[in-house]
Symmetry: C2
Subunit: 312 residues, 2 copies
């Protein structure tokens, strides 16, 4: 169908799901695994999905990036807490003039990736996906799946929609993954923080689901105040998020099923929290622009303390 080779770095709830869907659609996909390597090499990937369950019995599985073929599109599907590994992982697997697609939360990762591998295109992708890894090579896709993609340019200047972006979008679309192409990646990233910062942060600190945070007048106010600080942070980067967007996020959350955030799940599983990508980087960017976000700063330090103690 297509000669583009895909590498998936990190075959978990997110990378496993998208990679399996791409392979099912006929694409040539190569998976980097760690703990699940032996199992997946033998038995493949199993995806239980609300869109239909399926199995990929034959998987190109690797436990060493140096054994992988050089790929046209390298998908970073690790948690950002693993990004210290990227200088070792990326160079062997990405083709010259290839694409690195960063499917991660938070701010600033594309910039880091561009510094690691020179002659590539870096695309950021924001995933709206509910999925969990429920066993070795076994993924449960609960809801959603859409990805918003934008191309990284030096200092995040807005870019046009390139042919390369469109090709990748076509591949994902052929796998049944809806793609939205954005001209302003940085705006899209700040918009996602409008949700991620209050709900991920408070869910961990207060041991609460999204519905509890919305039902209590005090946390409801705090959610809005944190959202306002995110909007101020975006503004310091020259990105305007209208009040109506905040209102949309609040209404959307009110209508959601009671939801344990991804950061709360990480916390409960005693995995490292993505505090730096989601809180630390936005705070540092904003501070460099001379703007102070005191409530986000408070939540950041609380999370850092809890994360340390949790893995202690």
């Amino acid at each position: 169908m297509c000669d583009r080779k895909y590498a998936i770095l990190g075959t978990g709830a997110l990378g496993g799901f998208y990679g399996a869907r791409l392979q099912k659609a006929g694409l040539d996909v190569h998976f980097l695994l760690k703990s699940d390597y032996e199992h997946v090499s033998k038995s493949g990937l199993v995806v239980d999905s609300k869109d239909g369950d399926f199995i990929i019995p034959q998987v190109n599985a690797y436990n060493d990036v140096n054994k992988m073929p050089q790929c046209d599109v390298v998908v970073i599907a690790l948690k950002t807490t693993q990004n210290y590994l990227l200088p070792k992982l990326l160079p062997p697997v990405v083709k010259d003039h290839g694409v690195v697609l960063v499917l991660q939360n938070g701010l600033g990762v594309e910039e880091e990736v561009a510094q690691i591998v020179g002659n590539v295109t870096v695309i950021g992708g924001l995933c709206f996906l509910c999925s969990n890894k429920v066993g070795l090579g076994h993924i449960r896709h609960l809801d959603y799946g859409k990805i918003t993609m934008g191309e990284y340019t030096h200092q995040y200047y807005p870019s046009r929609i390139t042919a390369r972006m469109q090709q990748i979008a076509d591949d994902f679309n052929s796998a049944g993954i809806p793609i939205e192409l954005a001209e302003d990646l940085l705006l899209a990233r700040w918009q996602k923080l409008v949700w991620n910062i209050p709900y991920n942060g408070l869910s961990v600190i207060l041991n609460a689901r999204t519905d509890e945070l919305m039902a209590d007048a005090n946390t409801r106010i705090l959610v809005e105040q944190l959202m306002n600080e995110v909007v101020a942070g975006a503004k310091s980067a020259g990105r305007i998020i209208p009040d109506s967007f905040m209102q949309t996020m609040l209404n959307y959350t009110l209508k959601m099923k009671p939801y344990r955030t991804s950061m709360k799940i990480d916390y409960d599983e005693r995995r490292p929290l993505e505090v730096e990508a989601i809180f630390g980087n936005p705070l540092r960017k904003t501070q460099a622009a001379g703007v102070n976000l005191p409530q986000i700063n408070c939540v950041y330090h609380q999370l850092k303390f809890l994360d340390g103690k949790n893995r202690g």
Copy 2:
């Protein structure tokens, strides 16, 4: 020895300790009790103290304020969460031209008391006391005990040291309680908040002792940032707290034994937290002066949520 009658409203860890010490020194003390009334009427009060254990076998115990004699000095030793009871409790028990001594945490209570009973002197007292109630009529005094007292004047204008204050100080001194007399009650209250706001708040939210909050770089920074906001709040009320005071509080806490704050103990015992007196009132006073304390505001809303859920 002395003809001043004392009433103790709230015979718990604090009121029971100070009241028992006053009676032991020969003063005429009348105790209002609730759950411990029957036991204390029969068996008196038992105080285990680092200064020497003692028993008060015969106690003037009451379970109804209307049965108490009118007293010269009425000590409010309830938690501030019980202050909605004061309009019923105070008028029957305080003598005309008597004194109400508010031994409570936080800000603004003297003002409320002055509105409830007109023709009295209101004195605020800040207690530096570690004690717990460990059983019916049984108090364990662990450490400290000093009280800083200042007279309340309209709008908290600094006042002079009056003869009345000196008399009460003499009574407490005769009972072995060190008293410091302050000319500026409001300054003393804001100074106490420099400690209470960061440590009480974070200990509950982060489930941490004082030593853990000081040992972790993130909470250490957050403690200092919260202290800085308290200093800004004091300034909005015209009270200057020098940086050296903050440093003294930090050093003092570093040297303390690992300590579970009083608010954390209340939380663990599922008692209502004194959030309004310690956080809400300072925030409202400061906001009325046009000053915003965003990190204290964040901690306030978090505590309100946790308090509600804890007793929920």
